[in-house]
């Protein structure tokens, strides 16, 4: 006879197994469905720049580069902001408004990406175009990065929008680590006669694992983001030559091309294998992030 404890344990394990099966299923579905194109083209398909459904010829290099460029822009803008926001709420702002700041930051992190996309498309993109991209192109156009005459939706706009989206997420990881610094360390730093900034700089060194974790996990999010990017990136399949080129990211390519894919025999595998590439890169980055998070947790 089984007692209720064992039945309950089994019951729970059923649900755990479902969760695990889903993870396994997702990975399997990516592999199975991308298999045909790997079988036909090998890995060359990743490094080709062509999207020709009529000839059933596909290569995702532009989208891969678009993903890397837009998320690189995003992370380089987001990290200084995220660190500043974390320190501001944990150290500088008056205690009475810290809760409010954290709430605003958490709200930003939980806003649906389609709202960011809508706002990015109709508000952010024109502003960036008029006040940042056009002047940069006019005065610094000789630098290859700014060489394309900008239109509002392009890789740069996507990068900035992504930066706005990931800053609060990254900031909350850093903030938590900063707040978890033992009080005696802060006291020790101040007792050495350090200025506030010097204390902050010292403590930032103490939590650098958390900052790395925040950067990696935010980078992973930026690379996987779909709809917000799809709305502002321009969705044009060309190899980007400057930051102001319209482009694609892997996820926006999937979002855009998927409705057509059923009509062709290799487009679906091409999109699934794009997802597999994205998944693999994202997995490595997120595992790195989790590794650094664990460092934060275990040291304390």
């Amino acid at each position: 006879m089984m007692d209720s404890e064992k039945i309950f344990l089994l019951f729970l394990i059923v649900f755990v197994s479902i969760s695990l099966l889903i993870v396994a299923g997702i990975v399997t579905s990516l592999i199975i469905n991308s298999y045909p194109i790997f079988l036909r083209d090998g890995f060359s398909f990743i490094f080709k720049s062509v999207w020709n459904p009529v000839k059933e010829d596909y290569g995702i290099l532009p989208a891969l580069l678009g993903t890397l460029i837009s998320s690189a822009i995003a992370i380089s803008i987001a990290m200084p902001l995220a660190i500043s926001l974390a320190i501001f709420s944990a150290e500088i702002a008056p205690t009475s408004v810290r809760g409010f700041i954290n709430s605003v930051s958490d709200l930003m992190a939980s806003l649906p990406s389609v709202i960011y996309g809508l706002w990015g498309l109709y508000v952010l993109a024109p502003i960036l175009n008029q006040y940042i991209m056009t002047p940069l192109h006019q005065y610094l156009g000789f630098i290859p990065l700014f060489s394309t005459k900008p239109i509002p939706t392009n890789l740069f706009t996507a990068g900035v929008l992504l930066a706005i989206m990931i800053t609060p997420f990254s900031s909350s990881i850093i903030r938590e680590a900063y707040n978890a610094i033992p009080h005696h360390l802060k006291e020790a730093a101040y007792s050495l006669g350090m200025t506030r900034w010097e204390v902050i700089r010292t403590l930032l060194g103490y939590i650098k694992s958390a900052i790395l974790a925040g950067a990696f996990l935010a980078l992973g999010r930026a690379m996987g983001e779909t709809v917000a990017v799809a709305m502002v990136v321009g969705n044009t399949f060309t190899l980007p030559r400057s930051l102001f080129d319209m482009g694609y990211t892997i996820s926006s390519l999937i979002a855009n091309q998927f409705p057509n894919a059923e009509a062709y025999s290799y487009m679906m595998p091409a999109l699934y294998s794009g997802a597999l590439v994205l998944f693999t890169i994202g997995l490595i980055i997120n595992l790195a992030g989790l590794y650094w998070i664990r460092r934060v947790v275990t040291r304390g």
Partner: protein, 253 residues
């Protein structure tokens, strides 16, 4: 003579660490039986082995027998919930369910275990339990208020009432006064002497004076081994082991 509980060759391991080493003893009915010893000697573990609360700890492994009414609680086909219902347990930190009211804290056990037929029976049982725990007069007008509003001593008596409401045969107490002030502590000790009429009480304490004050029988546990056991008056006046002597004379931490 029939025994309230018989412990035979009990061993407990946490992982590789041997915590309780081949302990055997028997407790008569309607007495206060104290298990005393320095902190870390395994007495809390021994207590939790008696009602199989140790099952909650995935690293703990138990060998040996614990018998109540001749039934080995570690035997096959023994329902662990039945085992736990034979005991009421009171913990070192007063731990009423903070989100429940005073009434609900006491009523929860009988309700979930189907000990009562209707609301009026439940009310009566709660009242009796609170009266037996010397708490009724202090809380009878605040039964619906959260348990967290009570003082530490009151919370501990509420936990005793919660244990009594299960109608157990044996009450296990894990250093019930360790976190209370002296006034609240002596109130609990008085209560113990009263409860002895109806229950067998096994109390764990690191304080030899407390064992001397309240218990009829006492066991001295040291590093997982049962060093000495006997009537309290004997153990405290003519200890047969030098370790016990050092301990009861307060020369051991």
């Amino acid at each position: 003579m029939s025994w309230a509980i018989e412990v035979q060759n009990l061993n407990v391991w946490y992982g590789d660490k041997h915590i309780i080493k081949n302990v055997s003893f028997r407790v008569p009915k309607n007495v206060i039986f104290a298990i005393m010893g320095p902190s870390g000697c395994g007495k809390s573990t021994l207590l939790r082995a008696m009602n199989r609360l140790l099952d909650l700890n995935p690293h703990a492994r138990v060998e040996g027998q614990v018998k109540i009414n001749g039934i080995n609680i570690y035997g096959d086909n023994v329902d662990v919930t039945w085992v736990r219902r034979q005991f009421g347990m009171v913990f070192q930190i007063p731990n009423p369910f903070p989100h429940l009211s005073i009434y609900e804290n006491v009523a929860l056990g009988p309700k979930l275990n189907g000990l009562v037929k209707d609301k009026s029976q439940l009310d009566e049982l709660v009242k009796q339990a609170l009266q037996k725990a010397y708490l009724w007069d202090e809380v009878k007008n605040d039964l619906r208020k959260p348990a967290s509003m009570l003082s530490g001593g009151q919370q501990q008596r509420l936990c005793i009432a919660r244990a009594l409401a299960l109608k157990p045969r044996i009450i296990l107490m894990d250093e019930p006064t360790a976190n209370l002030d002296p006034v609240a502590s002596s109130k609990i000790e008085e209560l113990l002497l009263e409860l002895k009429e109806d229950y067998t009480i096994i109390i764990v304490t690191h304080n030899p004076q407390q064992a001397a004050r309240v218990s009829d029988y006492v066991a001295f546990l040291y590093m997982g081994e049962l060093i000495e056991i006997g009537e309290t008056s004997t153990v405290f006046t003519r200890p047969s082991n030098i370790l016990t002597e050092k301990y009861v004379l307060g020369r051991m931490g």
